[in-house]
Amino acid sequence: MDQIASNIGLLLQFPVVNLKILIDGMMIGALFALAAYGLALVWGVMNVKNLAQGDFVIGGGYVSWWLVKNVGLHPLLGVPAAFVVMALLGGALHGTPIHNWARSQKTAMIWVSALTFLVFIVATYLGDAAGSVAGYAGLILTILLVINGGIYNLVISRVIERDLFTSLLATFGLAIMGAQIMNLLFGSDTQSLDLGYDTLYFADGLIDVPIAKLIGVLMAAALAAGVVIFMKSSRMGQAIRATAQDARAARVLGIDTEKVYAFTFSLNAAICGAAGAIIVMVWVIQPFYGITYSVRAFVVVTAAGLGNLPGVIAAGLGIGALEQYGSHIFGIGYQQAIAVLLLLAVLVYRLMQQKRNRQVLQ
């Protein structure tokens, strides 16, 4: 109690701190908003409630981290790279010629992958750089192809439009698999990338804005804007929106909904991946941190509703800010509790609203 009082006292004594908390909260909130927008997409269009959302985010972070550490990519380029790689993992190749070829040539694919793997092992053992690089490339390509087909064809495409609980559980299975595979591949250390940029200070240094953070938030904003423009103006975007409104009607009108679904899911994975790549250069990631982002994404989407992009962004920023305020006042230990209690509050509020509506109808 004393602590809570003194914490509130600090806010009154240094009013500028309120601004600092708001800024910090909205910066992390921008990332929550990205993950939540992806969730709103797959939920709205495919009726898939993706509990693996956070693990896609962390996955994107690891893609960027790996490329920076092993290939020497600039961390900022890690963001588009993670976008592309996660899109591939998410099923972007579904229905394209490569995918069809791979599907019809299963045996050939298996042999080629086995061979590349062998080359890779031998080359690394002998320390042959060129062979090793070729092996890496082949290995990564095969893995991408296999997972691309695997996740989407074997799991996601089979839970679309199934009952609500199925997708929650199936994606939960994906989430624990993903987290553990990342743990095995990258180790369980917390990782982060240091851009080495300066920090901007305002108000006697009380407000600090690391330039890296600023760039990250700007990239998130640019990505969100790009997605919005894409959804509004491109043919695929229109097809996605049409499918979301009425899948059967869309099919009747000649939209290949199968392809739309695959594309949507892959777009979601890509958005999450980019968010993760931003997170790794501003905060830290760890294989088992996915759940944090999944919870936030669900909170945001439940609060804002589906198909309401401004709402998602506002809710994302708002939840980021509320969490920061909450952890300032009650202590940082309550951060997760605050997020979840917000979710419950939103659900109960919705419920009461519905009840009121029903009574009005009666």
Partner: protein, 408 residues
């Protein structure tokens, strides 16, 4: 990267089996539940590597000689997923189903706390290297032995140091204001209790007292408070992720607290990851490779570090964490005790462990009645220009402490 190390490790493994086969010794099985997944996985793996490295070194030095026979250690591992209930179940399995007679400890105080009642009930000697909480050693356990110093000592010298510095600058020790941010788990809460006690003894006031969540990735809220309240000493403990997050954001937020003390700096590789931001931060450590300890198996502390890096190339660019060193020391204690006991009888071995009095690369090891190691001090290192230099206690200090810390 991982695969490369894997194939290298494979090569190292083949080489080591060749030597072991030549020695032609029997197997002596130890058991351990260790965290390979979950929140303690990083340090769980550090500890497991330490066990494995020690076993390999002991093999190469002729194994464990009991009477006229020789033995090689072999460890049955299970993954406790960083969960206490799982750890206790696995301990029962090791004892009942795998018929393990001797145990190596798990990682973290919480897990050790969960496993110790089991080993105690079955009267299985357990030498543990990673559970430092004091509460382990006031229960009267007879079969629990810990090679490391207990957790209240981790940051005690930082508190003393803060008091000394206050006196030097003409203030009283009771003017020192302490900020504490520790993870909400048994180990870190025990550290908090230790710091609180010492601070209370010196009349210091605790101005911030926060608990970090287990999936911590952002502590700006706490650091903002630190900026406002301006404490004289900031203490952060939260295993590897706590250290990584703290150092990164202390740099970003330009925290100008004159003294900052952390745990797990080496495990989080804060110098490698964050460079200058880590400067002048104090890190408590159980062991440092610059100390002058040595023994016939591992050589000097520095030699241990070098050979370990040779065997595990993934550590090449960072410090070998003390979690690894103490794990190796635990295996060494077993070897020593078996040889002195001269038998595989459990009770005789327990007696021999209790009577341990040895010098190792990790430091002196001598157990109190309660089972904790009382012969080895904690040391406090300061990161000075990217190097870890011992600054306290004064008997071991190689460098002077930089105070106040310069924010960069």
């Amino acid at each position: 990267m991982k695969l490369k190390t894997l194939s290298l490790a494979l090569g190292a493994f083949m080489a080591s089996t060749a030597i072991a086969a030549a020695a032609d010794c029997e197997k002596l099985v130890l058991g351990s539940a260790i965290s390979l997944t979950g929140k303690y996985a990083t340090n769980g793996v550090h500890a497991k590597n330490g066990y494995e490295f020690a076993i390999k070194k002991i093999d190469e030095n002729g194994g464990v000689k009991i009477g006229d026979k020789c033995y090689n250690f072999e460890v049955i591992y299970y993954d406790d997923e960083s969960k206490g209930d799982r750890g206790a179940t696995l301990a029962e399995r090791l004892i009942n189903q795998d018929k393990v007679q001797y145990m190596l400890g798990p990682y973290s105080s919480g897990l050790t706390k969960a496993i110790a009642p089991v080993t105690e009930k079955y009267q299985i000697p357990m030498v543990e290297a990673e559970g430092a909480s004091r509460s382990l050693f006031n229960k009267g356990y007879k079969y629990l032995f810990a090679v490391l110093s207990t957790s209240e000592q981790y940051l005690a010298s930082a508190v003393t140091l803060a008091a000394e510095k206050a006196a030097e600058s003409g203030k009283k020790a009771s003017d020192v204001r302490v900020a504490i941010a520790v993870e909400n788990d048994p180990f870190s809460l025990d550290i908090r209790a230790g710091v609180m006690e010492d601070a209370a003894k010196l009349g210091m006031s605790v101005v911030i007292d926060e608990k970090l969540p287990r999936d911590l990735s952002d502590m700006t809220a706490i650091l903002t408070k630190v900026k406002l309240v301006k404490p004289d000493l900031l203490v952060v403990s939260g295993h590897s992720k706590g250290a990584a997050t703290a150092v990164r954001q202390i740099g970003e937020q330009k925290i100008s607290t004159p003294m900052i003390a952390l745990t797990h700096c080496e495990a989080a590789d804060v110098t490698g990851n964050f460079g200058a931001a880590a400067n002048d931060i104090l890190c408590s450590t159980q062991w440092a490779e610059t100390l002058t300890y040595e023994d016939p198996i591992f050589g000097s502390a520095a030699n241990y570090e070098a050979e370990f890096k040779g065997a595990y190339p993934e550590y090449a660019n960072k410090k070998v964490p003390y979690q690894t060193a103490q794990a190796s020391a635990a295996v060494y204690v077993f070897k020593d005790a078996f040889e002195r006991a001269g038998t595989l009888d459990k009770e005789a071995v327990r007696e021999a462990i209790a009577a341990t009095d040895m010098k190792t690369f990790y430091g002196d090891i001598r157990f109190s009645e309660a089972g904790n190691n009382i012969a080895k001090p904690m040391v406090l290192r300061q990161i000075q220009n990217g190097e870890y230099n011992v600054v306290a206690p004064s008997a071991f200090a190689s460098h002077k402490v930089n105070w106040p810390r310069k924010a960069n």
